[in-house]
């Protein structure tokens, strides 16, 4: 897939300004997402992956958080330069989002149909169909059984998997160019998770969206993604095509993450654990942020942050050892 990027994030910095100091939660993130591509943004909690997504949509959680630098280009237009009104047009119409918890993503006091109507009404239908017909249609697209009955029901009458399908239906109702999925299957059971991931892939192919898939699970990455960006302590440490990342991980953090997951098909005696914990984002070291936990760390790793270098075809890593 070698089309132009639909979403480009350049050198994005989002910081929290707290009384006890500045927390650099997103600290220079750059990546691009092509049309019809699934990009996995992988990292642990607190690495800044969800905040990156919220910065793209300009939905920062608190007054204390601000995007201080960078560009977010959607089809070449900088979203950070748009007015609040223009931004509302972008959200939900051109960029849609699916969050982790289907429980809190739907409003409990409105029926499924009502919540879909609200999303659908923002866009005129070419065929002149009624909102209800379109709602049934979009529920059929997300493979919800018996959509005619479902639109009259309320969120509490649906299971978690069904609710997440409704969230998906709302997200695709305006045929967005980009979908941001923030751990959409973490709250679902394993058998339901697989169904849902397959559904997302199918929707992506039929609608031609680019999906930014935020996850901590390399299994999800292997199943879903075309390319991967691995994030650690506010920065992307490695980017590449999914096979490259699995077969030939360059950054020690990526290597360690893949190795530390127990395998279903092989019994390992002892897992290769990563010692220690990520650094505090309010007190980041000058050098590589993984240096304290890295088995290969050298003196230069602690002194200067390594630049991203190309280590293969469209595969880059920020590590002194790769340079």
């Amino acid at each position: 897939m070698d089309s132009a990027p639909v979403l480009e994030v350049r050198n994005l910095h989002t910081h929290f300004f707290l009384r006890r100091g500045v927390v650099k939660a997103v600290d220079g993130v750059t990546f691009s997402l092509k049309r019809g591509e699934v990009l996995g943004l992988v990292g642990e909690s607190g690495c800044g992956k969800s905040l990156t997504a919220l910065s793209i949509l300009r939905l920062l959680p608190q007054e204390a958080a601000r995007t201080v630098e960078g560009q977010v280009l959607l089809d070449g237009e900088d979203l950070l330069a748009k007015s609040a009104g223009e931004m509302r047009q972008v959200r939900g119409q051109r960029i849609a989002m699916i969050l982790q918890d289907p429980q809190t993503s739907l409003n409990p006091v409105f029926s499924i149909g009502n919540q879909l109507h609200e999303a659908l009404a923002r866009r005129l239908d070419e065929g002149g169909r009624s909102l209800r017909e379109r709602a049934v249609d979009v529920l059929r697209q997300v493979r919800l059984a018996a959509p005619e009955q479902r639109i009259g029901q309320y969120p509490h009458e649906l299971s978690g998997g069904m609710k997440q399908r409704v969230v998906g239906a709302i997200a695709i109702s305006c045929a967005p160019e980009v979908m941001i999925a923030d751990e959409p299957t973490t709250a679902l059971d394993v058998t339901i998770q697989l169904q849902y991931l397959d559904l997302l892939k199918e929707l992506q192919t039929s609608l031609g969206m680019g999906i930014l898939f935020i996850t901590h699970d390399f299994g999800v990455v292997a199943h879903m993604c075309d390319r991967v960006a691995v994030m650690y302590a506010g920065r992307i440490v490695e980017t590449g095509p999914v096979r490259e990342i699995f077969d030939n991980p360059v950054h020690p953090y990526t290597q360690a993450l893949i190795a530390s997951v127990p395998k279903l098909r092989r019994k390992a005696g002892r897992l290769r654990a990563i010692d220690g914990q990520p650094p505090a984002l309010s007190d980041l070291p000058a050098g590589c942020r993984f240096a304290d936990r890295c088995p290969h760390a050298e003196a230069r790793c602690r002194e200067r942050y390594p630049k991203a270098v190309s280590v293969g075809e469209s595969h880059t890593a920020s590590c002194w050892l790769a340079a």
Binding site: L18, R19, Q62, A64
Partner: protein
């Protein structure tokens, strides 16, 4: 995060200070009458003197002195009513929430009944049967207070009960009493503290209302509510008699409410992190 309400803090501090040190702060007696000096206006009005800064009442007693001693009465009544009513509410709330089942259903119906009860009527009844006095006042106010405490604390306990550390305490072999008072109690103390401060205002107003109606502290003991009541007949000629204690009540109640709001934010760990 909201800043410490300094003005409220100062007003509350002043009230406590004058209540504790009243006898040393003023040369006058709050009770002894001095008819020649009756109905003197505050010092800034015509005819006022600096000896009686806020003027005198119909018996010639210094209004400022009576305000100081009245603060005493208010604080003692508030402290007693809060310890009794709040304490009972705290314990019943924890037990009701933790034990649950039939006991909980019963206690909560009693709480509903207590809310439906006309407090003022009941206090008047008590005053008639037991006689006016501080003990009557404290009993009436405690009976009014405990239900609110019990209901809020119970709700809090219901949420805490779901947390894993309570299940783990049972796995460790803790008795129900130990779980309620070693594990759960410290987790509701924040809420309890906030309830206490927010109820100080309620109690001061209630005490003043009851004293105003004649079911509170008997004269000649000074109480702010009683002072408002005594002055209301002369509101056109000697406005200070009612208005000054009224202002005192308003300021103190407002201060305690602001302080309670601040404390609630302060003690909420989620808000504190910001």
């Amino acid at each position: 995060m909201r800043r410490l309400p300094l003005a409220s803090f100062a007003i509350i501090g002043t009230m406590v200070f004058v209540a504790v040190f009243a006898p040393w702060l003023t040369p006058h007696s709050p009770i002894d009458q001095s008819l020649p000096n009756k109905l003197l206006p505050p010092f800034w009005e015509e005819g006022g003197t600096t000896e009686y800064l806020l003027g005198t009442d119909i018996f010639g007693r210094d209004l400022l002195t009576r305000l100081f001693y009245g603060a005493r009465v208010s604080l003692i009544v508030t402290a007693l009513a809060l310890s009794v009513g709040g304490g009972v509410g705290l314990v019943l709330g924890i037990v009701s929430g933790y034990v649950g089942g039939k006991l909980d259903a019963f206690l909560m119906r009693v709480v509903d009944a207590a809310f439906a009860f006309p407090t003022i009527l009941f206090a008047l009844l008590l005053a008639v049967t037991m006689g006016q006095g501080m003990d009557t006042l404290v009993i009436a106010l405690s009976l009014f207070l405990w239900a609110g405490f019990a209901r809020v604390i119970r709700g809090e306990v219901l949420a805490i009960k779901q947390r894993d550390f309570v299940a783990l305490a049972r796995v460790h072999g803790s008795s129900p009493a130990r779980i309620m008072f070693i594990h759960i109690l410290p987790n509701v103390l924040n809420t309890f503290m906030v309830l206490l401060t927010l109820n100080v205002g309620v109690i001061i107003v209630a005490e003043a209302s009851l004293s105003f109606l004649g079911a509170g502290v008997p004269p000649p003991t000074p109480s702010w509510g009683l002072m408002v009541a005594e002055g209301r007949g002369k509101i056109t000629s000697a406005w200070w008699l009612s208005l000054i204690p009224g202002i005192a009540i308003t300021l103190v109640v407002l201060s305690f409410n602001l302080f309670g709001d601040w404390l609630r934010d302060r003690l909420d760990p989620k808000l504190r992190q910001l």
